[in-house]
């Protein structure tokens, strides 16, 4: 799988859409900070850490994570995950690589791993740029936790890293869904749009009245699991739930895509 993965990454680095996604992930936090700096309003007060935005640069990436969970990061993820198998269909190259010395399982695994790598790169780049831009504008000050206690800046940075890691789980599940659609539809545009719709639907379901009982189990909800890390004492319950739920949300499409890829007839592609 090593050779396949290495080449999938090189192929991503040779394609425009990769940079489009990464650029979006980097531009959003910068634009956000610039907008905050040029306006005098209080900023968003009804979201976690929204009030603290002007007190410390550390709050910026947390707020960006919140806004980007709705469709921003799902779109960035879908852009590559939805294309990664369908692009081979489009170029007719599946037959080229499947008649060499790599089994189909290895090819699929390499592709899924590359899509995950890109997703994590975009996410961590966004957070890193967010915290850098935030600190430049609003300074390196202690953070106020969601329980109201004060958290020293270095600890706050550690919590940001952990939160980003927890936030990555549902995003990786969306990437897995994208890889599956990419395999099943053989069409890049359909897979990108389908993946984004799936992510939006998961958010929408949680916003509808009457869904309170299933809400904690919806994928979109897991983008808030990191809130538990910012409570004192730490609330592990949502994080544990996110761990196993996201594992399921990722495993089902991955297994489906894998089996479809193993069994598919490579005809027009």
């Amino acid at each position: 799988m090593g050779a396949v993965y290495a080449w999938e990454v090189r192929k991503l680095l040779a394609q425009k859409r990769t940079y489009l996604g990464l650029a979006a992930a980097i531009v959003v936090p910068i634009a956000f900070v610039v907008a905050l700096a040029t306006q005098n309003g209080a900023g968003p007060t009804d979201i976690p850490l929204g009030r603290a935005l002007r007190d410390t640069g550390l709050a910026v990436p947390f707020v960006v994570l919140f806004f980007m969970s709705i469709w921003g990061l799902p779109l960035v993820t879908a852009l590559v995950a939805g294309d990664i198998v369908a692009a081979e269909s489009h170029n007719g190259t599946l037959k080229t690589i499947l008649t060499r010395s790599r089994d189909r399982g290895q090819v699929f695994a390499g592709k899924a791993a590359a899509a995950a790598t890109y997703t994590l790169t975009a996410l961590f780049a966004m957070v890193a740029v967010g915290v850098t831009a935030g600190v430049i504008e609003f300074g390196w000050h202690p953070l106020v936790s969601l329980s109201g206690t004060t958290v020293a800046a270095p600890t706050g940075l550690g919590l940001l890293a952990l939160s980003t890691a927890v936030y990555a789980w549902p995003l990786l599940a969306i990437a897995a869904f994208g890889v599956m659609l990419s395999t099943l539809t053989r069409n890049s545009a359909a897979s990108v749009v389908g993946t984004l719709l799936f992510a939006l639907l998961m958010q929408l379901l949680g916003a509808l009245p009457g869904t309170e009982t299933i809400r904690p189990y919806l994928l979109g909800e897991q983008f808030s699991a990191w809130h538990g890390l910012l409570r004192r004492p730490t609330d592990w319950a949502p994080i544990e739930r996110a761990a196993w739920l996201c594992a399921i949300y990722a495993a089902v499409p991955l297994a489906t895509g894998y089996l479809a890829f193993l069994r598919r007839d490579v005809t027009g592609d």
Binding site: R10, Q15, N91, G92, K95, T96, S101, D265
Partner: protein
Amino acid sequence: MTDAPVVARGLVKRYGDLVAVDSVDLTVEHGDVFGYLGPNGAGKTTSLRMLLGLIRPSEGRVQLFGRDPLVDGATALDGVAGFVEGPAFYPYLSARRNLELLADYDDGPRSRIDEVLELVELRDRAGDRVGGYSHGMKQRLGIAASLLRAPRLLLLDEPTTGLDPAGMRDMRELVRRLAAEGITILLSSHLLYEVEELCNRVAIVRRGRIVYEGLLSELKAGAATGYRLRVVDVETARRVAASIAGVGDVVASDGEVRFTAGDDAAAMLTIALGRAGVGFTALVPRTATLEELFLDLTEGERPPLVQEVA
């Protein structure tokens, strides 16, 4: 089964009601240059895809050097290379990068890349993105990519299709050279003269079924010799011809009687015609050309000149 380069038995591929490939048996022996010949849409590409494990047969099985691609996965393709329906590469990578990728997929050495690029005369353009390549260049790159695996068996799907005359000549020359180096080749084509020029064995396929498999020389020899007899009294000549044992397919038209016969029966006929007082001005044998055999086998409007091989 043996460890012959290609053994396919009872291959069937159905798409719904459509039978694309119907009970195909193929055996390609070491050193063969095997022609898989048939009109467009006869199921040649589908057959090749099944040989390479790209699509699953609805029935039947395939072995390449004794290994089944569906059972043994990529290891069944050890020593096997080729392309179906035109080679395809990543358009945004250079030819060299594409070959590096494929060498890595094979765990093969990258050191042979220059050698194979040289062989297909693409070394000067190796740094260009494949997206800007002409059809002929891609076709040559496909050969280079195949040779990178140092194959013992090469499967080529219509390798000269879409090439200009010079390109076709170069491609055939290359195939001949590779065959001379001992590589077994299975080549599909809809061009009879191409197969006639390159191949020693042939399978002729029509609507998914193989209608002839064997040596080209046997195909030609197996056809009965046809004759044209030019006479003054066509009607009497026709009756005399029909009465001679060993003379068949007698047809009279336009001052001519056409029939098929062996040498002895044809000689007997001339004597009988003399006795019957029918003078003839010409008796011309015409060996069935391969072209006619091919059309007979693949279009099947006239009764085939040779027995169908199931």
